[in-house]
Point group: C2
Chain length 426, copies 2
Amino acid sequence: MNETLATAENAEEQLIEMAHRARKACRALGLATPAQRTDGLRKAAAAVRTRAAEIEAANAKDMAFAKEKGLSPAMLDRLLLNADRIEAMASGLESVAELPDPVGQVIAEWDRPNGLHIERVRTPLGVIGVIYESRPNVTADAGALCVKAGNAAILRGGSESLHSSGLIADCLRQGLAEAGLPEDAVQIARTRDRDFVGAMLGASGLIDVIVPRGGRNLIERVLSDARVPVFAHLEGLVHLYIHEAADPEKAVVLAVNSKMRRTGICGAAETLLIDRSVAAALLPKIASALIEVGCVLRGDAAARAVMPIMEPASDEDWRTEYLDSILSVRVVDGIDQAMTHIADHGSDHTDCIVTEDQAVADRFLNEVDSAIVMHNASTQFADGGEFGMGAEIGISTGRMHARGPVGAEQLTSFKYRVRGNGQTRP
Amino acid sequence: MNETLATAENAEEQLIEMAHRARKACRALGLATPAQRTDGLRKAAAAVRTRAAEIEAANAKDMAFAKEKGLSPAMLDRLLLNADRIEAMASGLESVAELPDPVGQVIAEWDRPNGLHIERVRTPLGVIGVIYESRPNVTADAGALCVKAGNAAILRGGSESLHSSGLIADCLRQGLAEAGLPEDAVQIARTRDRDFVGAMLGASGLIDVIVPRGGRNLIERVLSDARVPVFAHLEGLVHLYIHEAADPEKAVVLAVNSKMRRTGICGAAETLLIDRSVAAALLPKIASALIEVGCVLRGDAAARAVMPIMEPASDEDWRTEYLDSILSVRVVDGIDQAMTHIADHGSDHTDCIVTEDQAVADRFLNEVDSAIVMHNASTQFADGGEFGMGAEIGISTGRMHARGPVGAEQLTSFKYRVRGNGQTRP
């Protein structure tokens, strides 16, 4: 593995060369049969299993480097690969292998009065750049999902995971080659040079879309600097709105699960809105259940009037994605105020209403303009796997091309096939 | 109408203000009923008819300005609005009004094992910037298509059409207002300041997508400078490939129609490829039919050996979009060489095979990676109207979001609606 630190110039040169190879590989991969792509991913899973000890050894080098750099225990845990995690990675590759193949799928077809038959058919999207941080298993997940949809992936992992990610990418390449597919459909930057990220972000025309996976700083940099389309969300400022016609039990259960199941994921609720007419009766039940499992509540004046145990919420709280056991609570005067609050403070990610009033629920689902809008369900379902997509490369809050969970289907483009029998245009 | 020339700074300020109003209007328009949007466009058509004399008068001012500037007769003809053209514009608005409304359409829906019901539903795309040249009727066509899909349009017409386009935009705004819809869903730059185009191209986050309509210089500038996604094609380097199993009559008829029906449109064929095994028998028939209707042919050596009347083609010819009565002709050794030629020289717009061999046709349709691939049909069908989309705002050769003809459906995004009955995530 080449670990020489690249200069800015050769980061760009490296990327251009990789992108050209990726374009060629993508074309061959898109023309391969679905069975071949499936086979390539299965063989990649087998390679991961066969080379598990090698991967662990590479990971040990990464762990030593990371400890030397003084990474936090949480970061070290993310970086760590052990036998269980390597097996999980292999079976993850197999799951992606078994997903429905989107390439060649006819999305729509119709006949014209002149007899032309027109089909809109899915094609690979092209070259996908994935920029991620410490978890080396993203190499397998993201690489596989790109390959499933006939795309080529250019991966740039965290500098800490250089050895592990490089070896995992090698397993994917090995699987592709064994299935007679171009191994350059998966390429990884084998450098710690940060200029490589800059080269990717500027690679308009070479990379078709960039998917960043990681913390806020990474996403912010990618969104602000990219000259290439990006599938991403900056934050999940998720709201759970308890309408006056909410079933009290559902309200309690959904609040606890939406906030506390896992606090660090983007679908975790960050603000609870509750109708004034039911605040006195319902808020104490919801708050107590949350406090019992360790959640800190920050309320507005009306919420604190009901539950003085809450800390006071500042304006900043309505704009804060805690990713922690903290929930801001605001009392609202009905659905209009709730939707205005969401429009003013939300992040277009996921928002949910709890109510037994179907008409009110329909209005919320229709009018709230977020990638995912929910009725009587935990916001933690905001996930490609939970949506039945099998796997996701991320969740997008953008409006172009992909929105919400980005699965294999969202990593495709389409073209039109037109069949005639000699028709000319009058 | 404010005609003061804006400085760079106030072009940007103007745009920001327009974009904020557009965002608000788009939200209201997206929440209106399909019937209201239809009504708004019908009333806009009525306004165009009622104000036809005003429009003609405004157009006379534009024509005087354009003559003073010394515009070519062809440009003057594009700029001209007479009673017939104004009526065509009004009935065009009515056609768009009657198109199926894409907003709210459920594209996909499924149930999860836990009982969650998930729908993917179309939503407006947002704020669409349209930059166009002399034809003032684009104001009506493009504005209406944006409105149909619940979007707000920011229009920037050619400086020659300032008065006519401004008045047509006023008619659209009037129709919207009469239907109880926000008139700011259609806004037009009432300035000849070229900096306004620059402000639009840089308006990342304010404008969601830009559609340029016009000549090559405009499209090149937009594609190179835009920090906003663009739906466009730079050129239509369209190929017609006559395979050895082509029906001779179809080959002749399709060649003549693909090249000569109208030479100035992007779907017009620019290069004819023909298999060596049938060149001697078939090329003379095709070439004679083309020459008879005024087409100049430029052939490679093998083509000229059969038809010495052809001019010699240079390498440049294979890369030239003539948009004129000129066709380059190359003899190839079968489908592989034909597809390689198309991959090397094409523009990913539209390419067609003429053959009676279904397997060969399928291979061509599958492997040629252009927005539109055709079998036994005139390439001049590459058009949203001919595809049955009712209207198009342009044809895109990009792979993100929209590809091929861009109609109302392609001017939408989507969101997910998730309905549960209290499900929590384990």
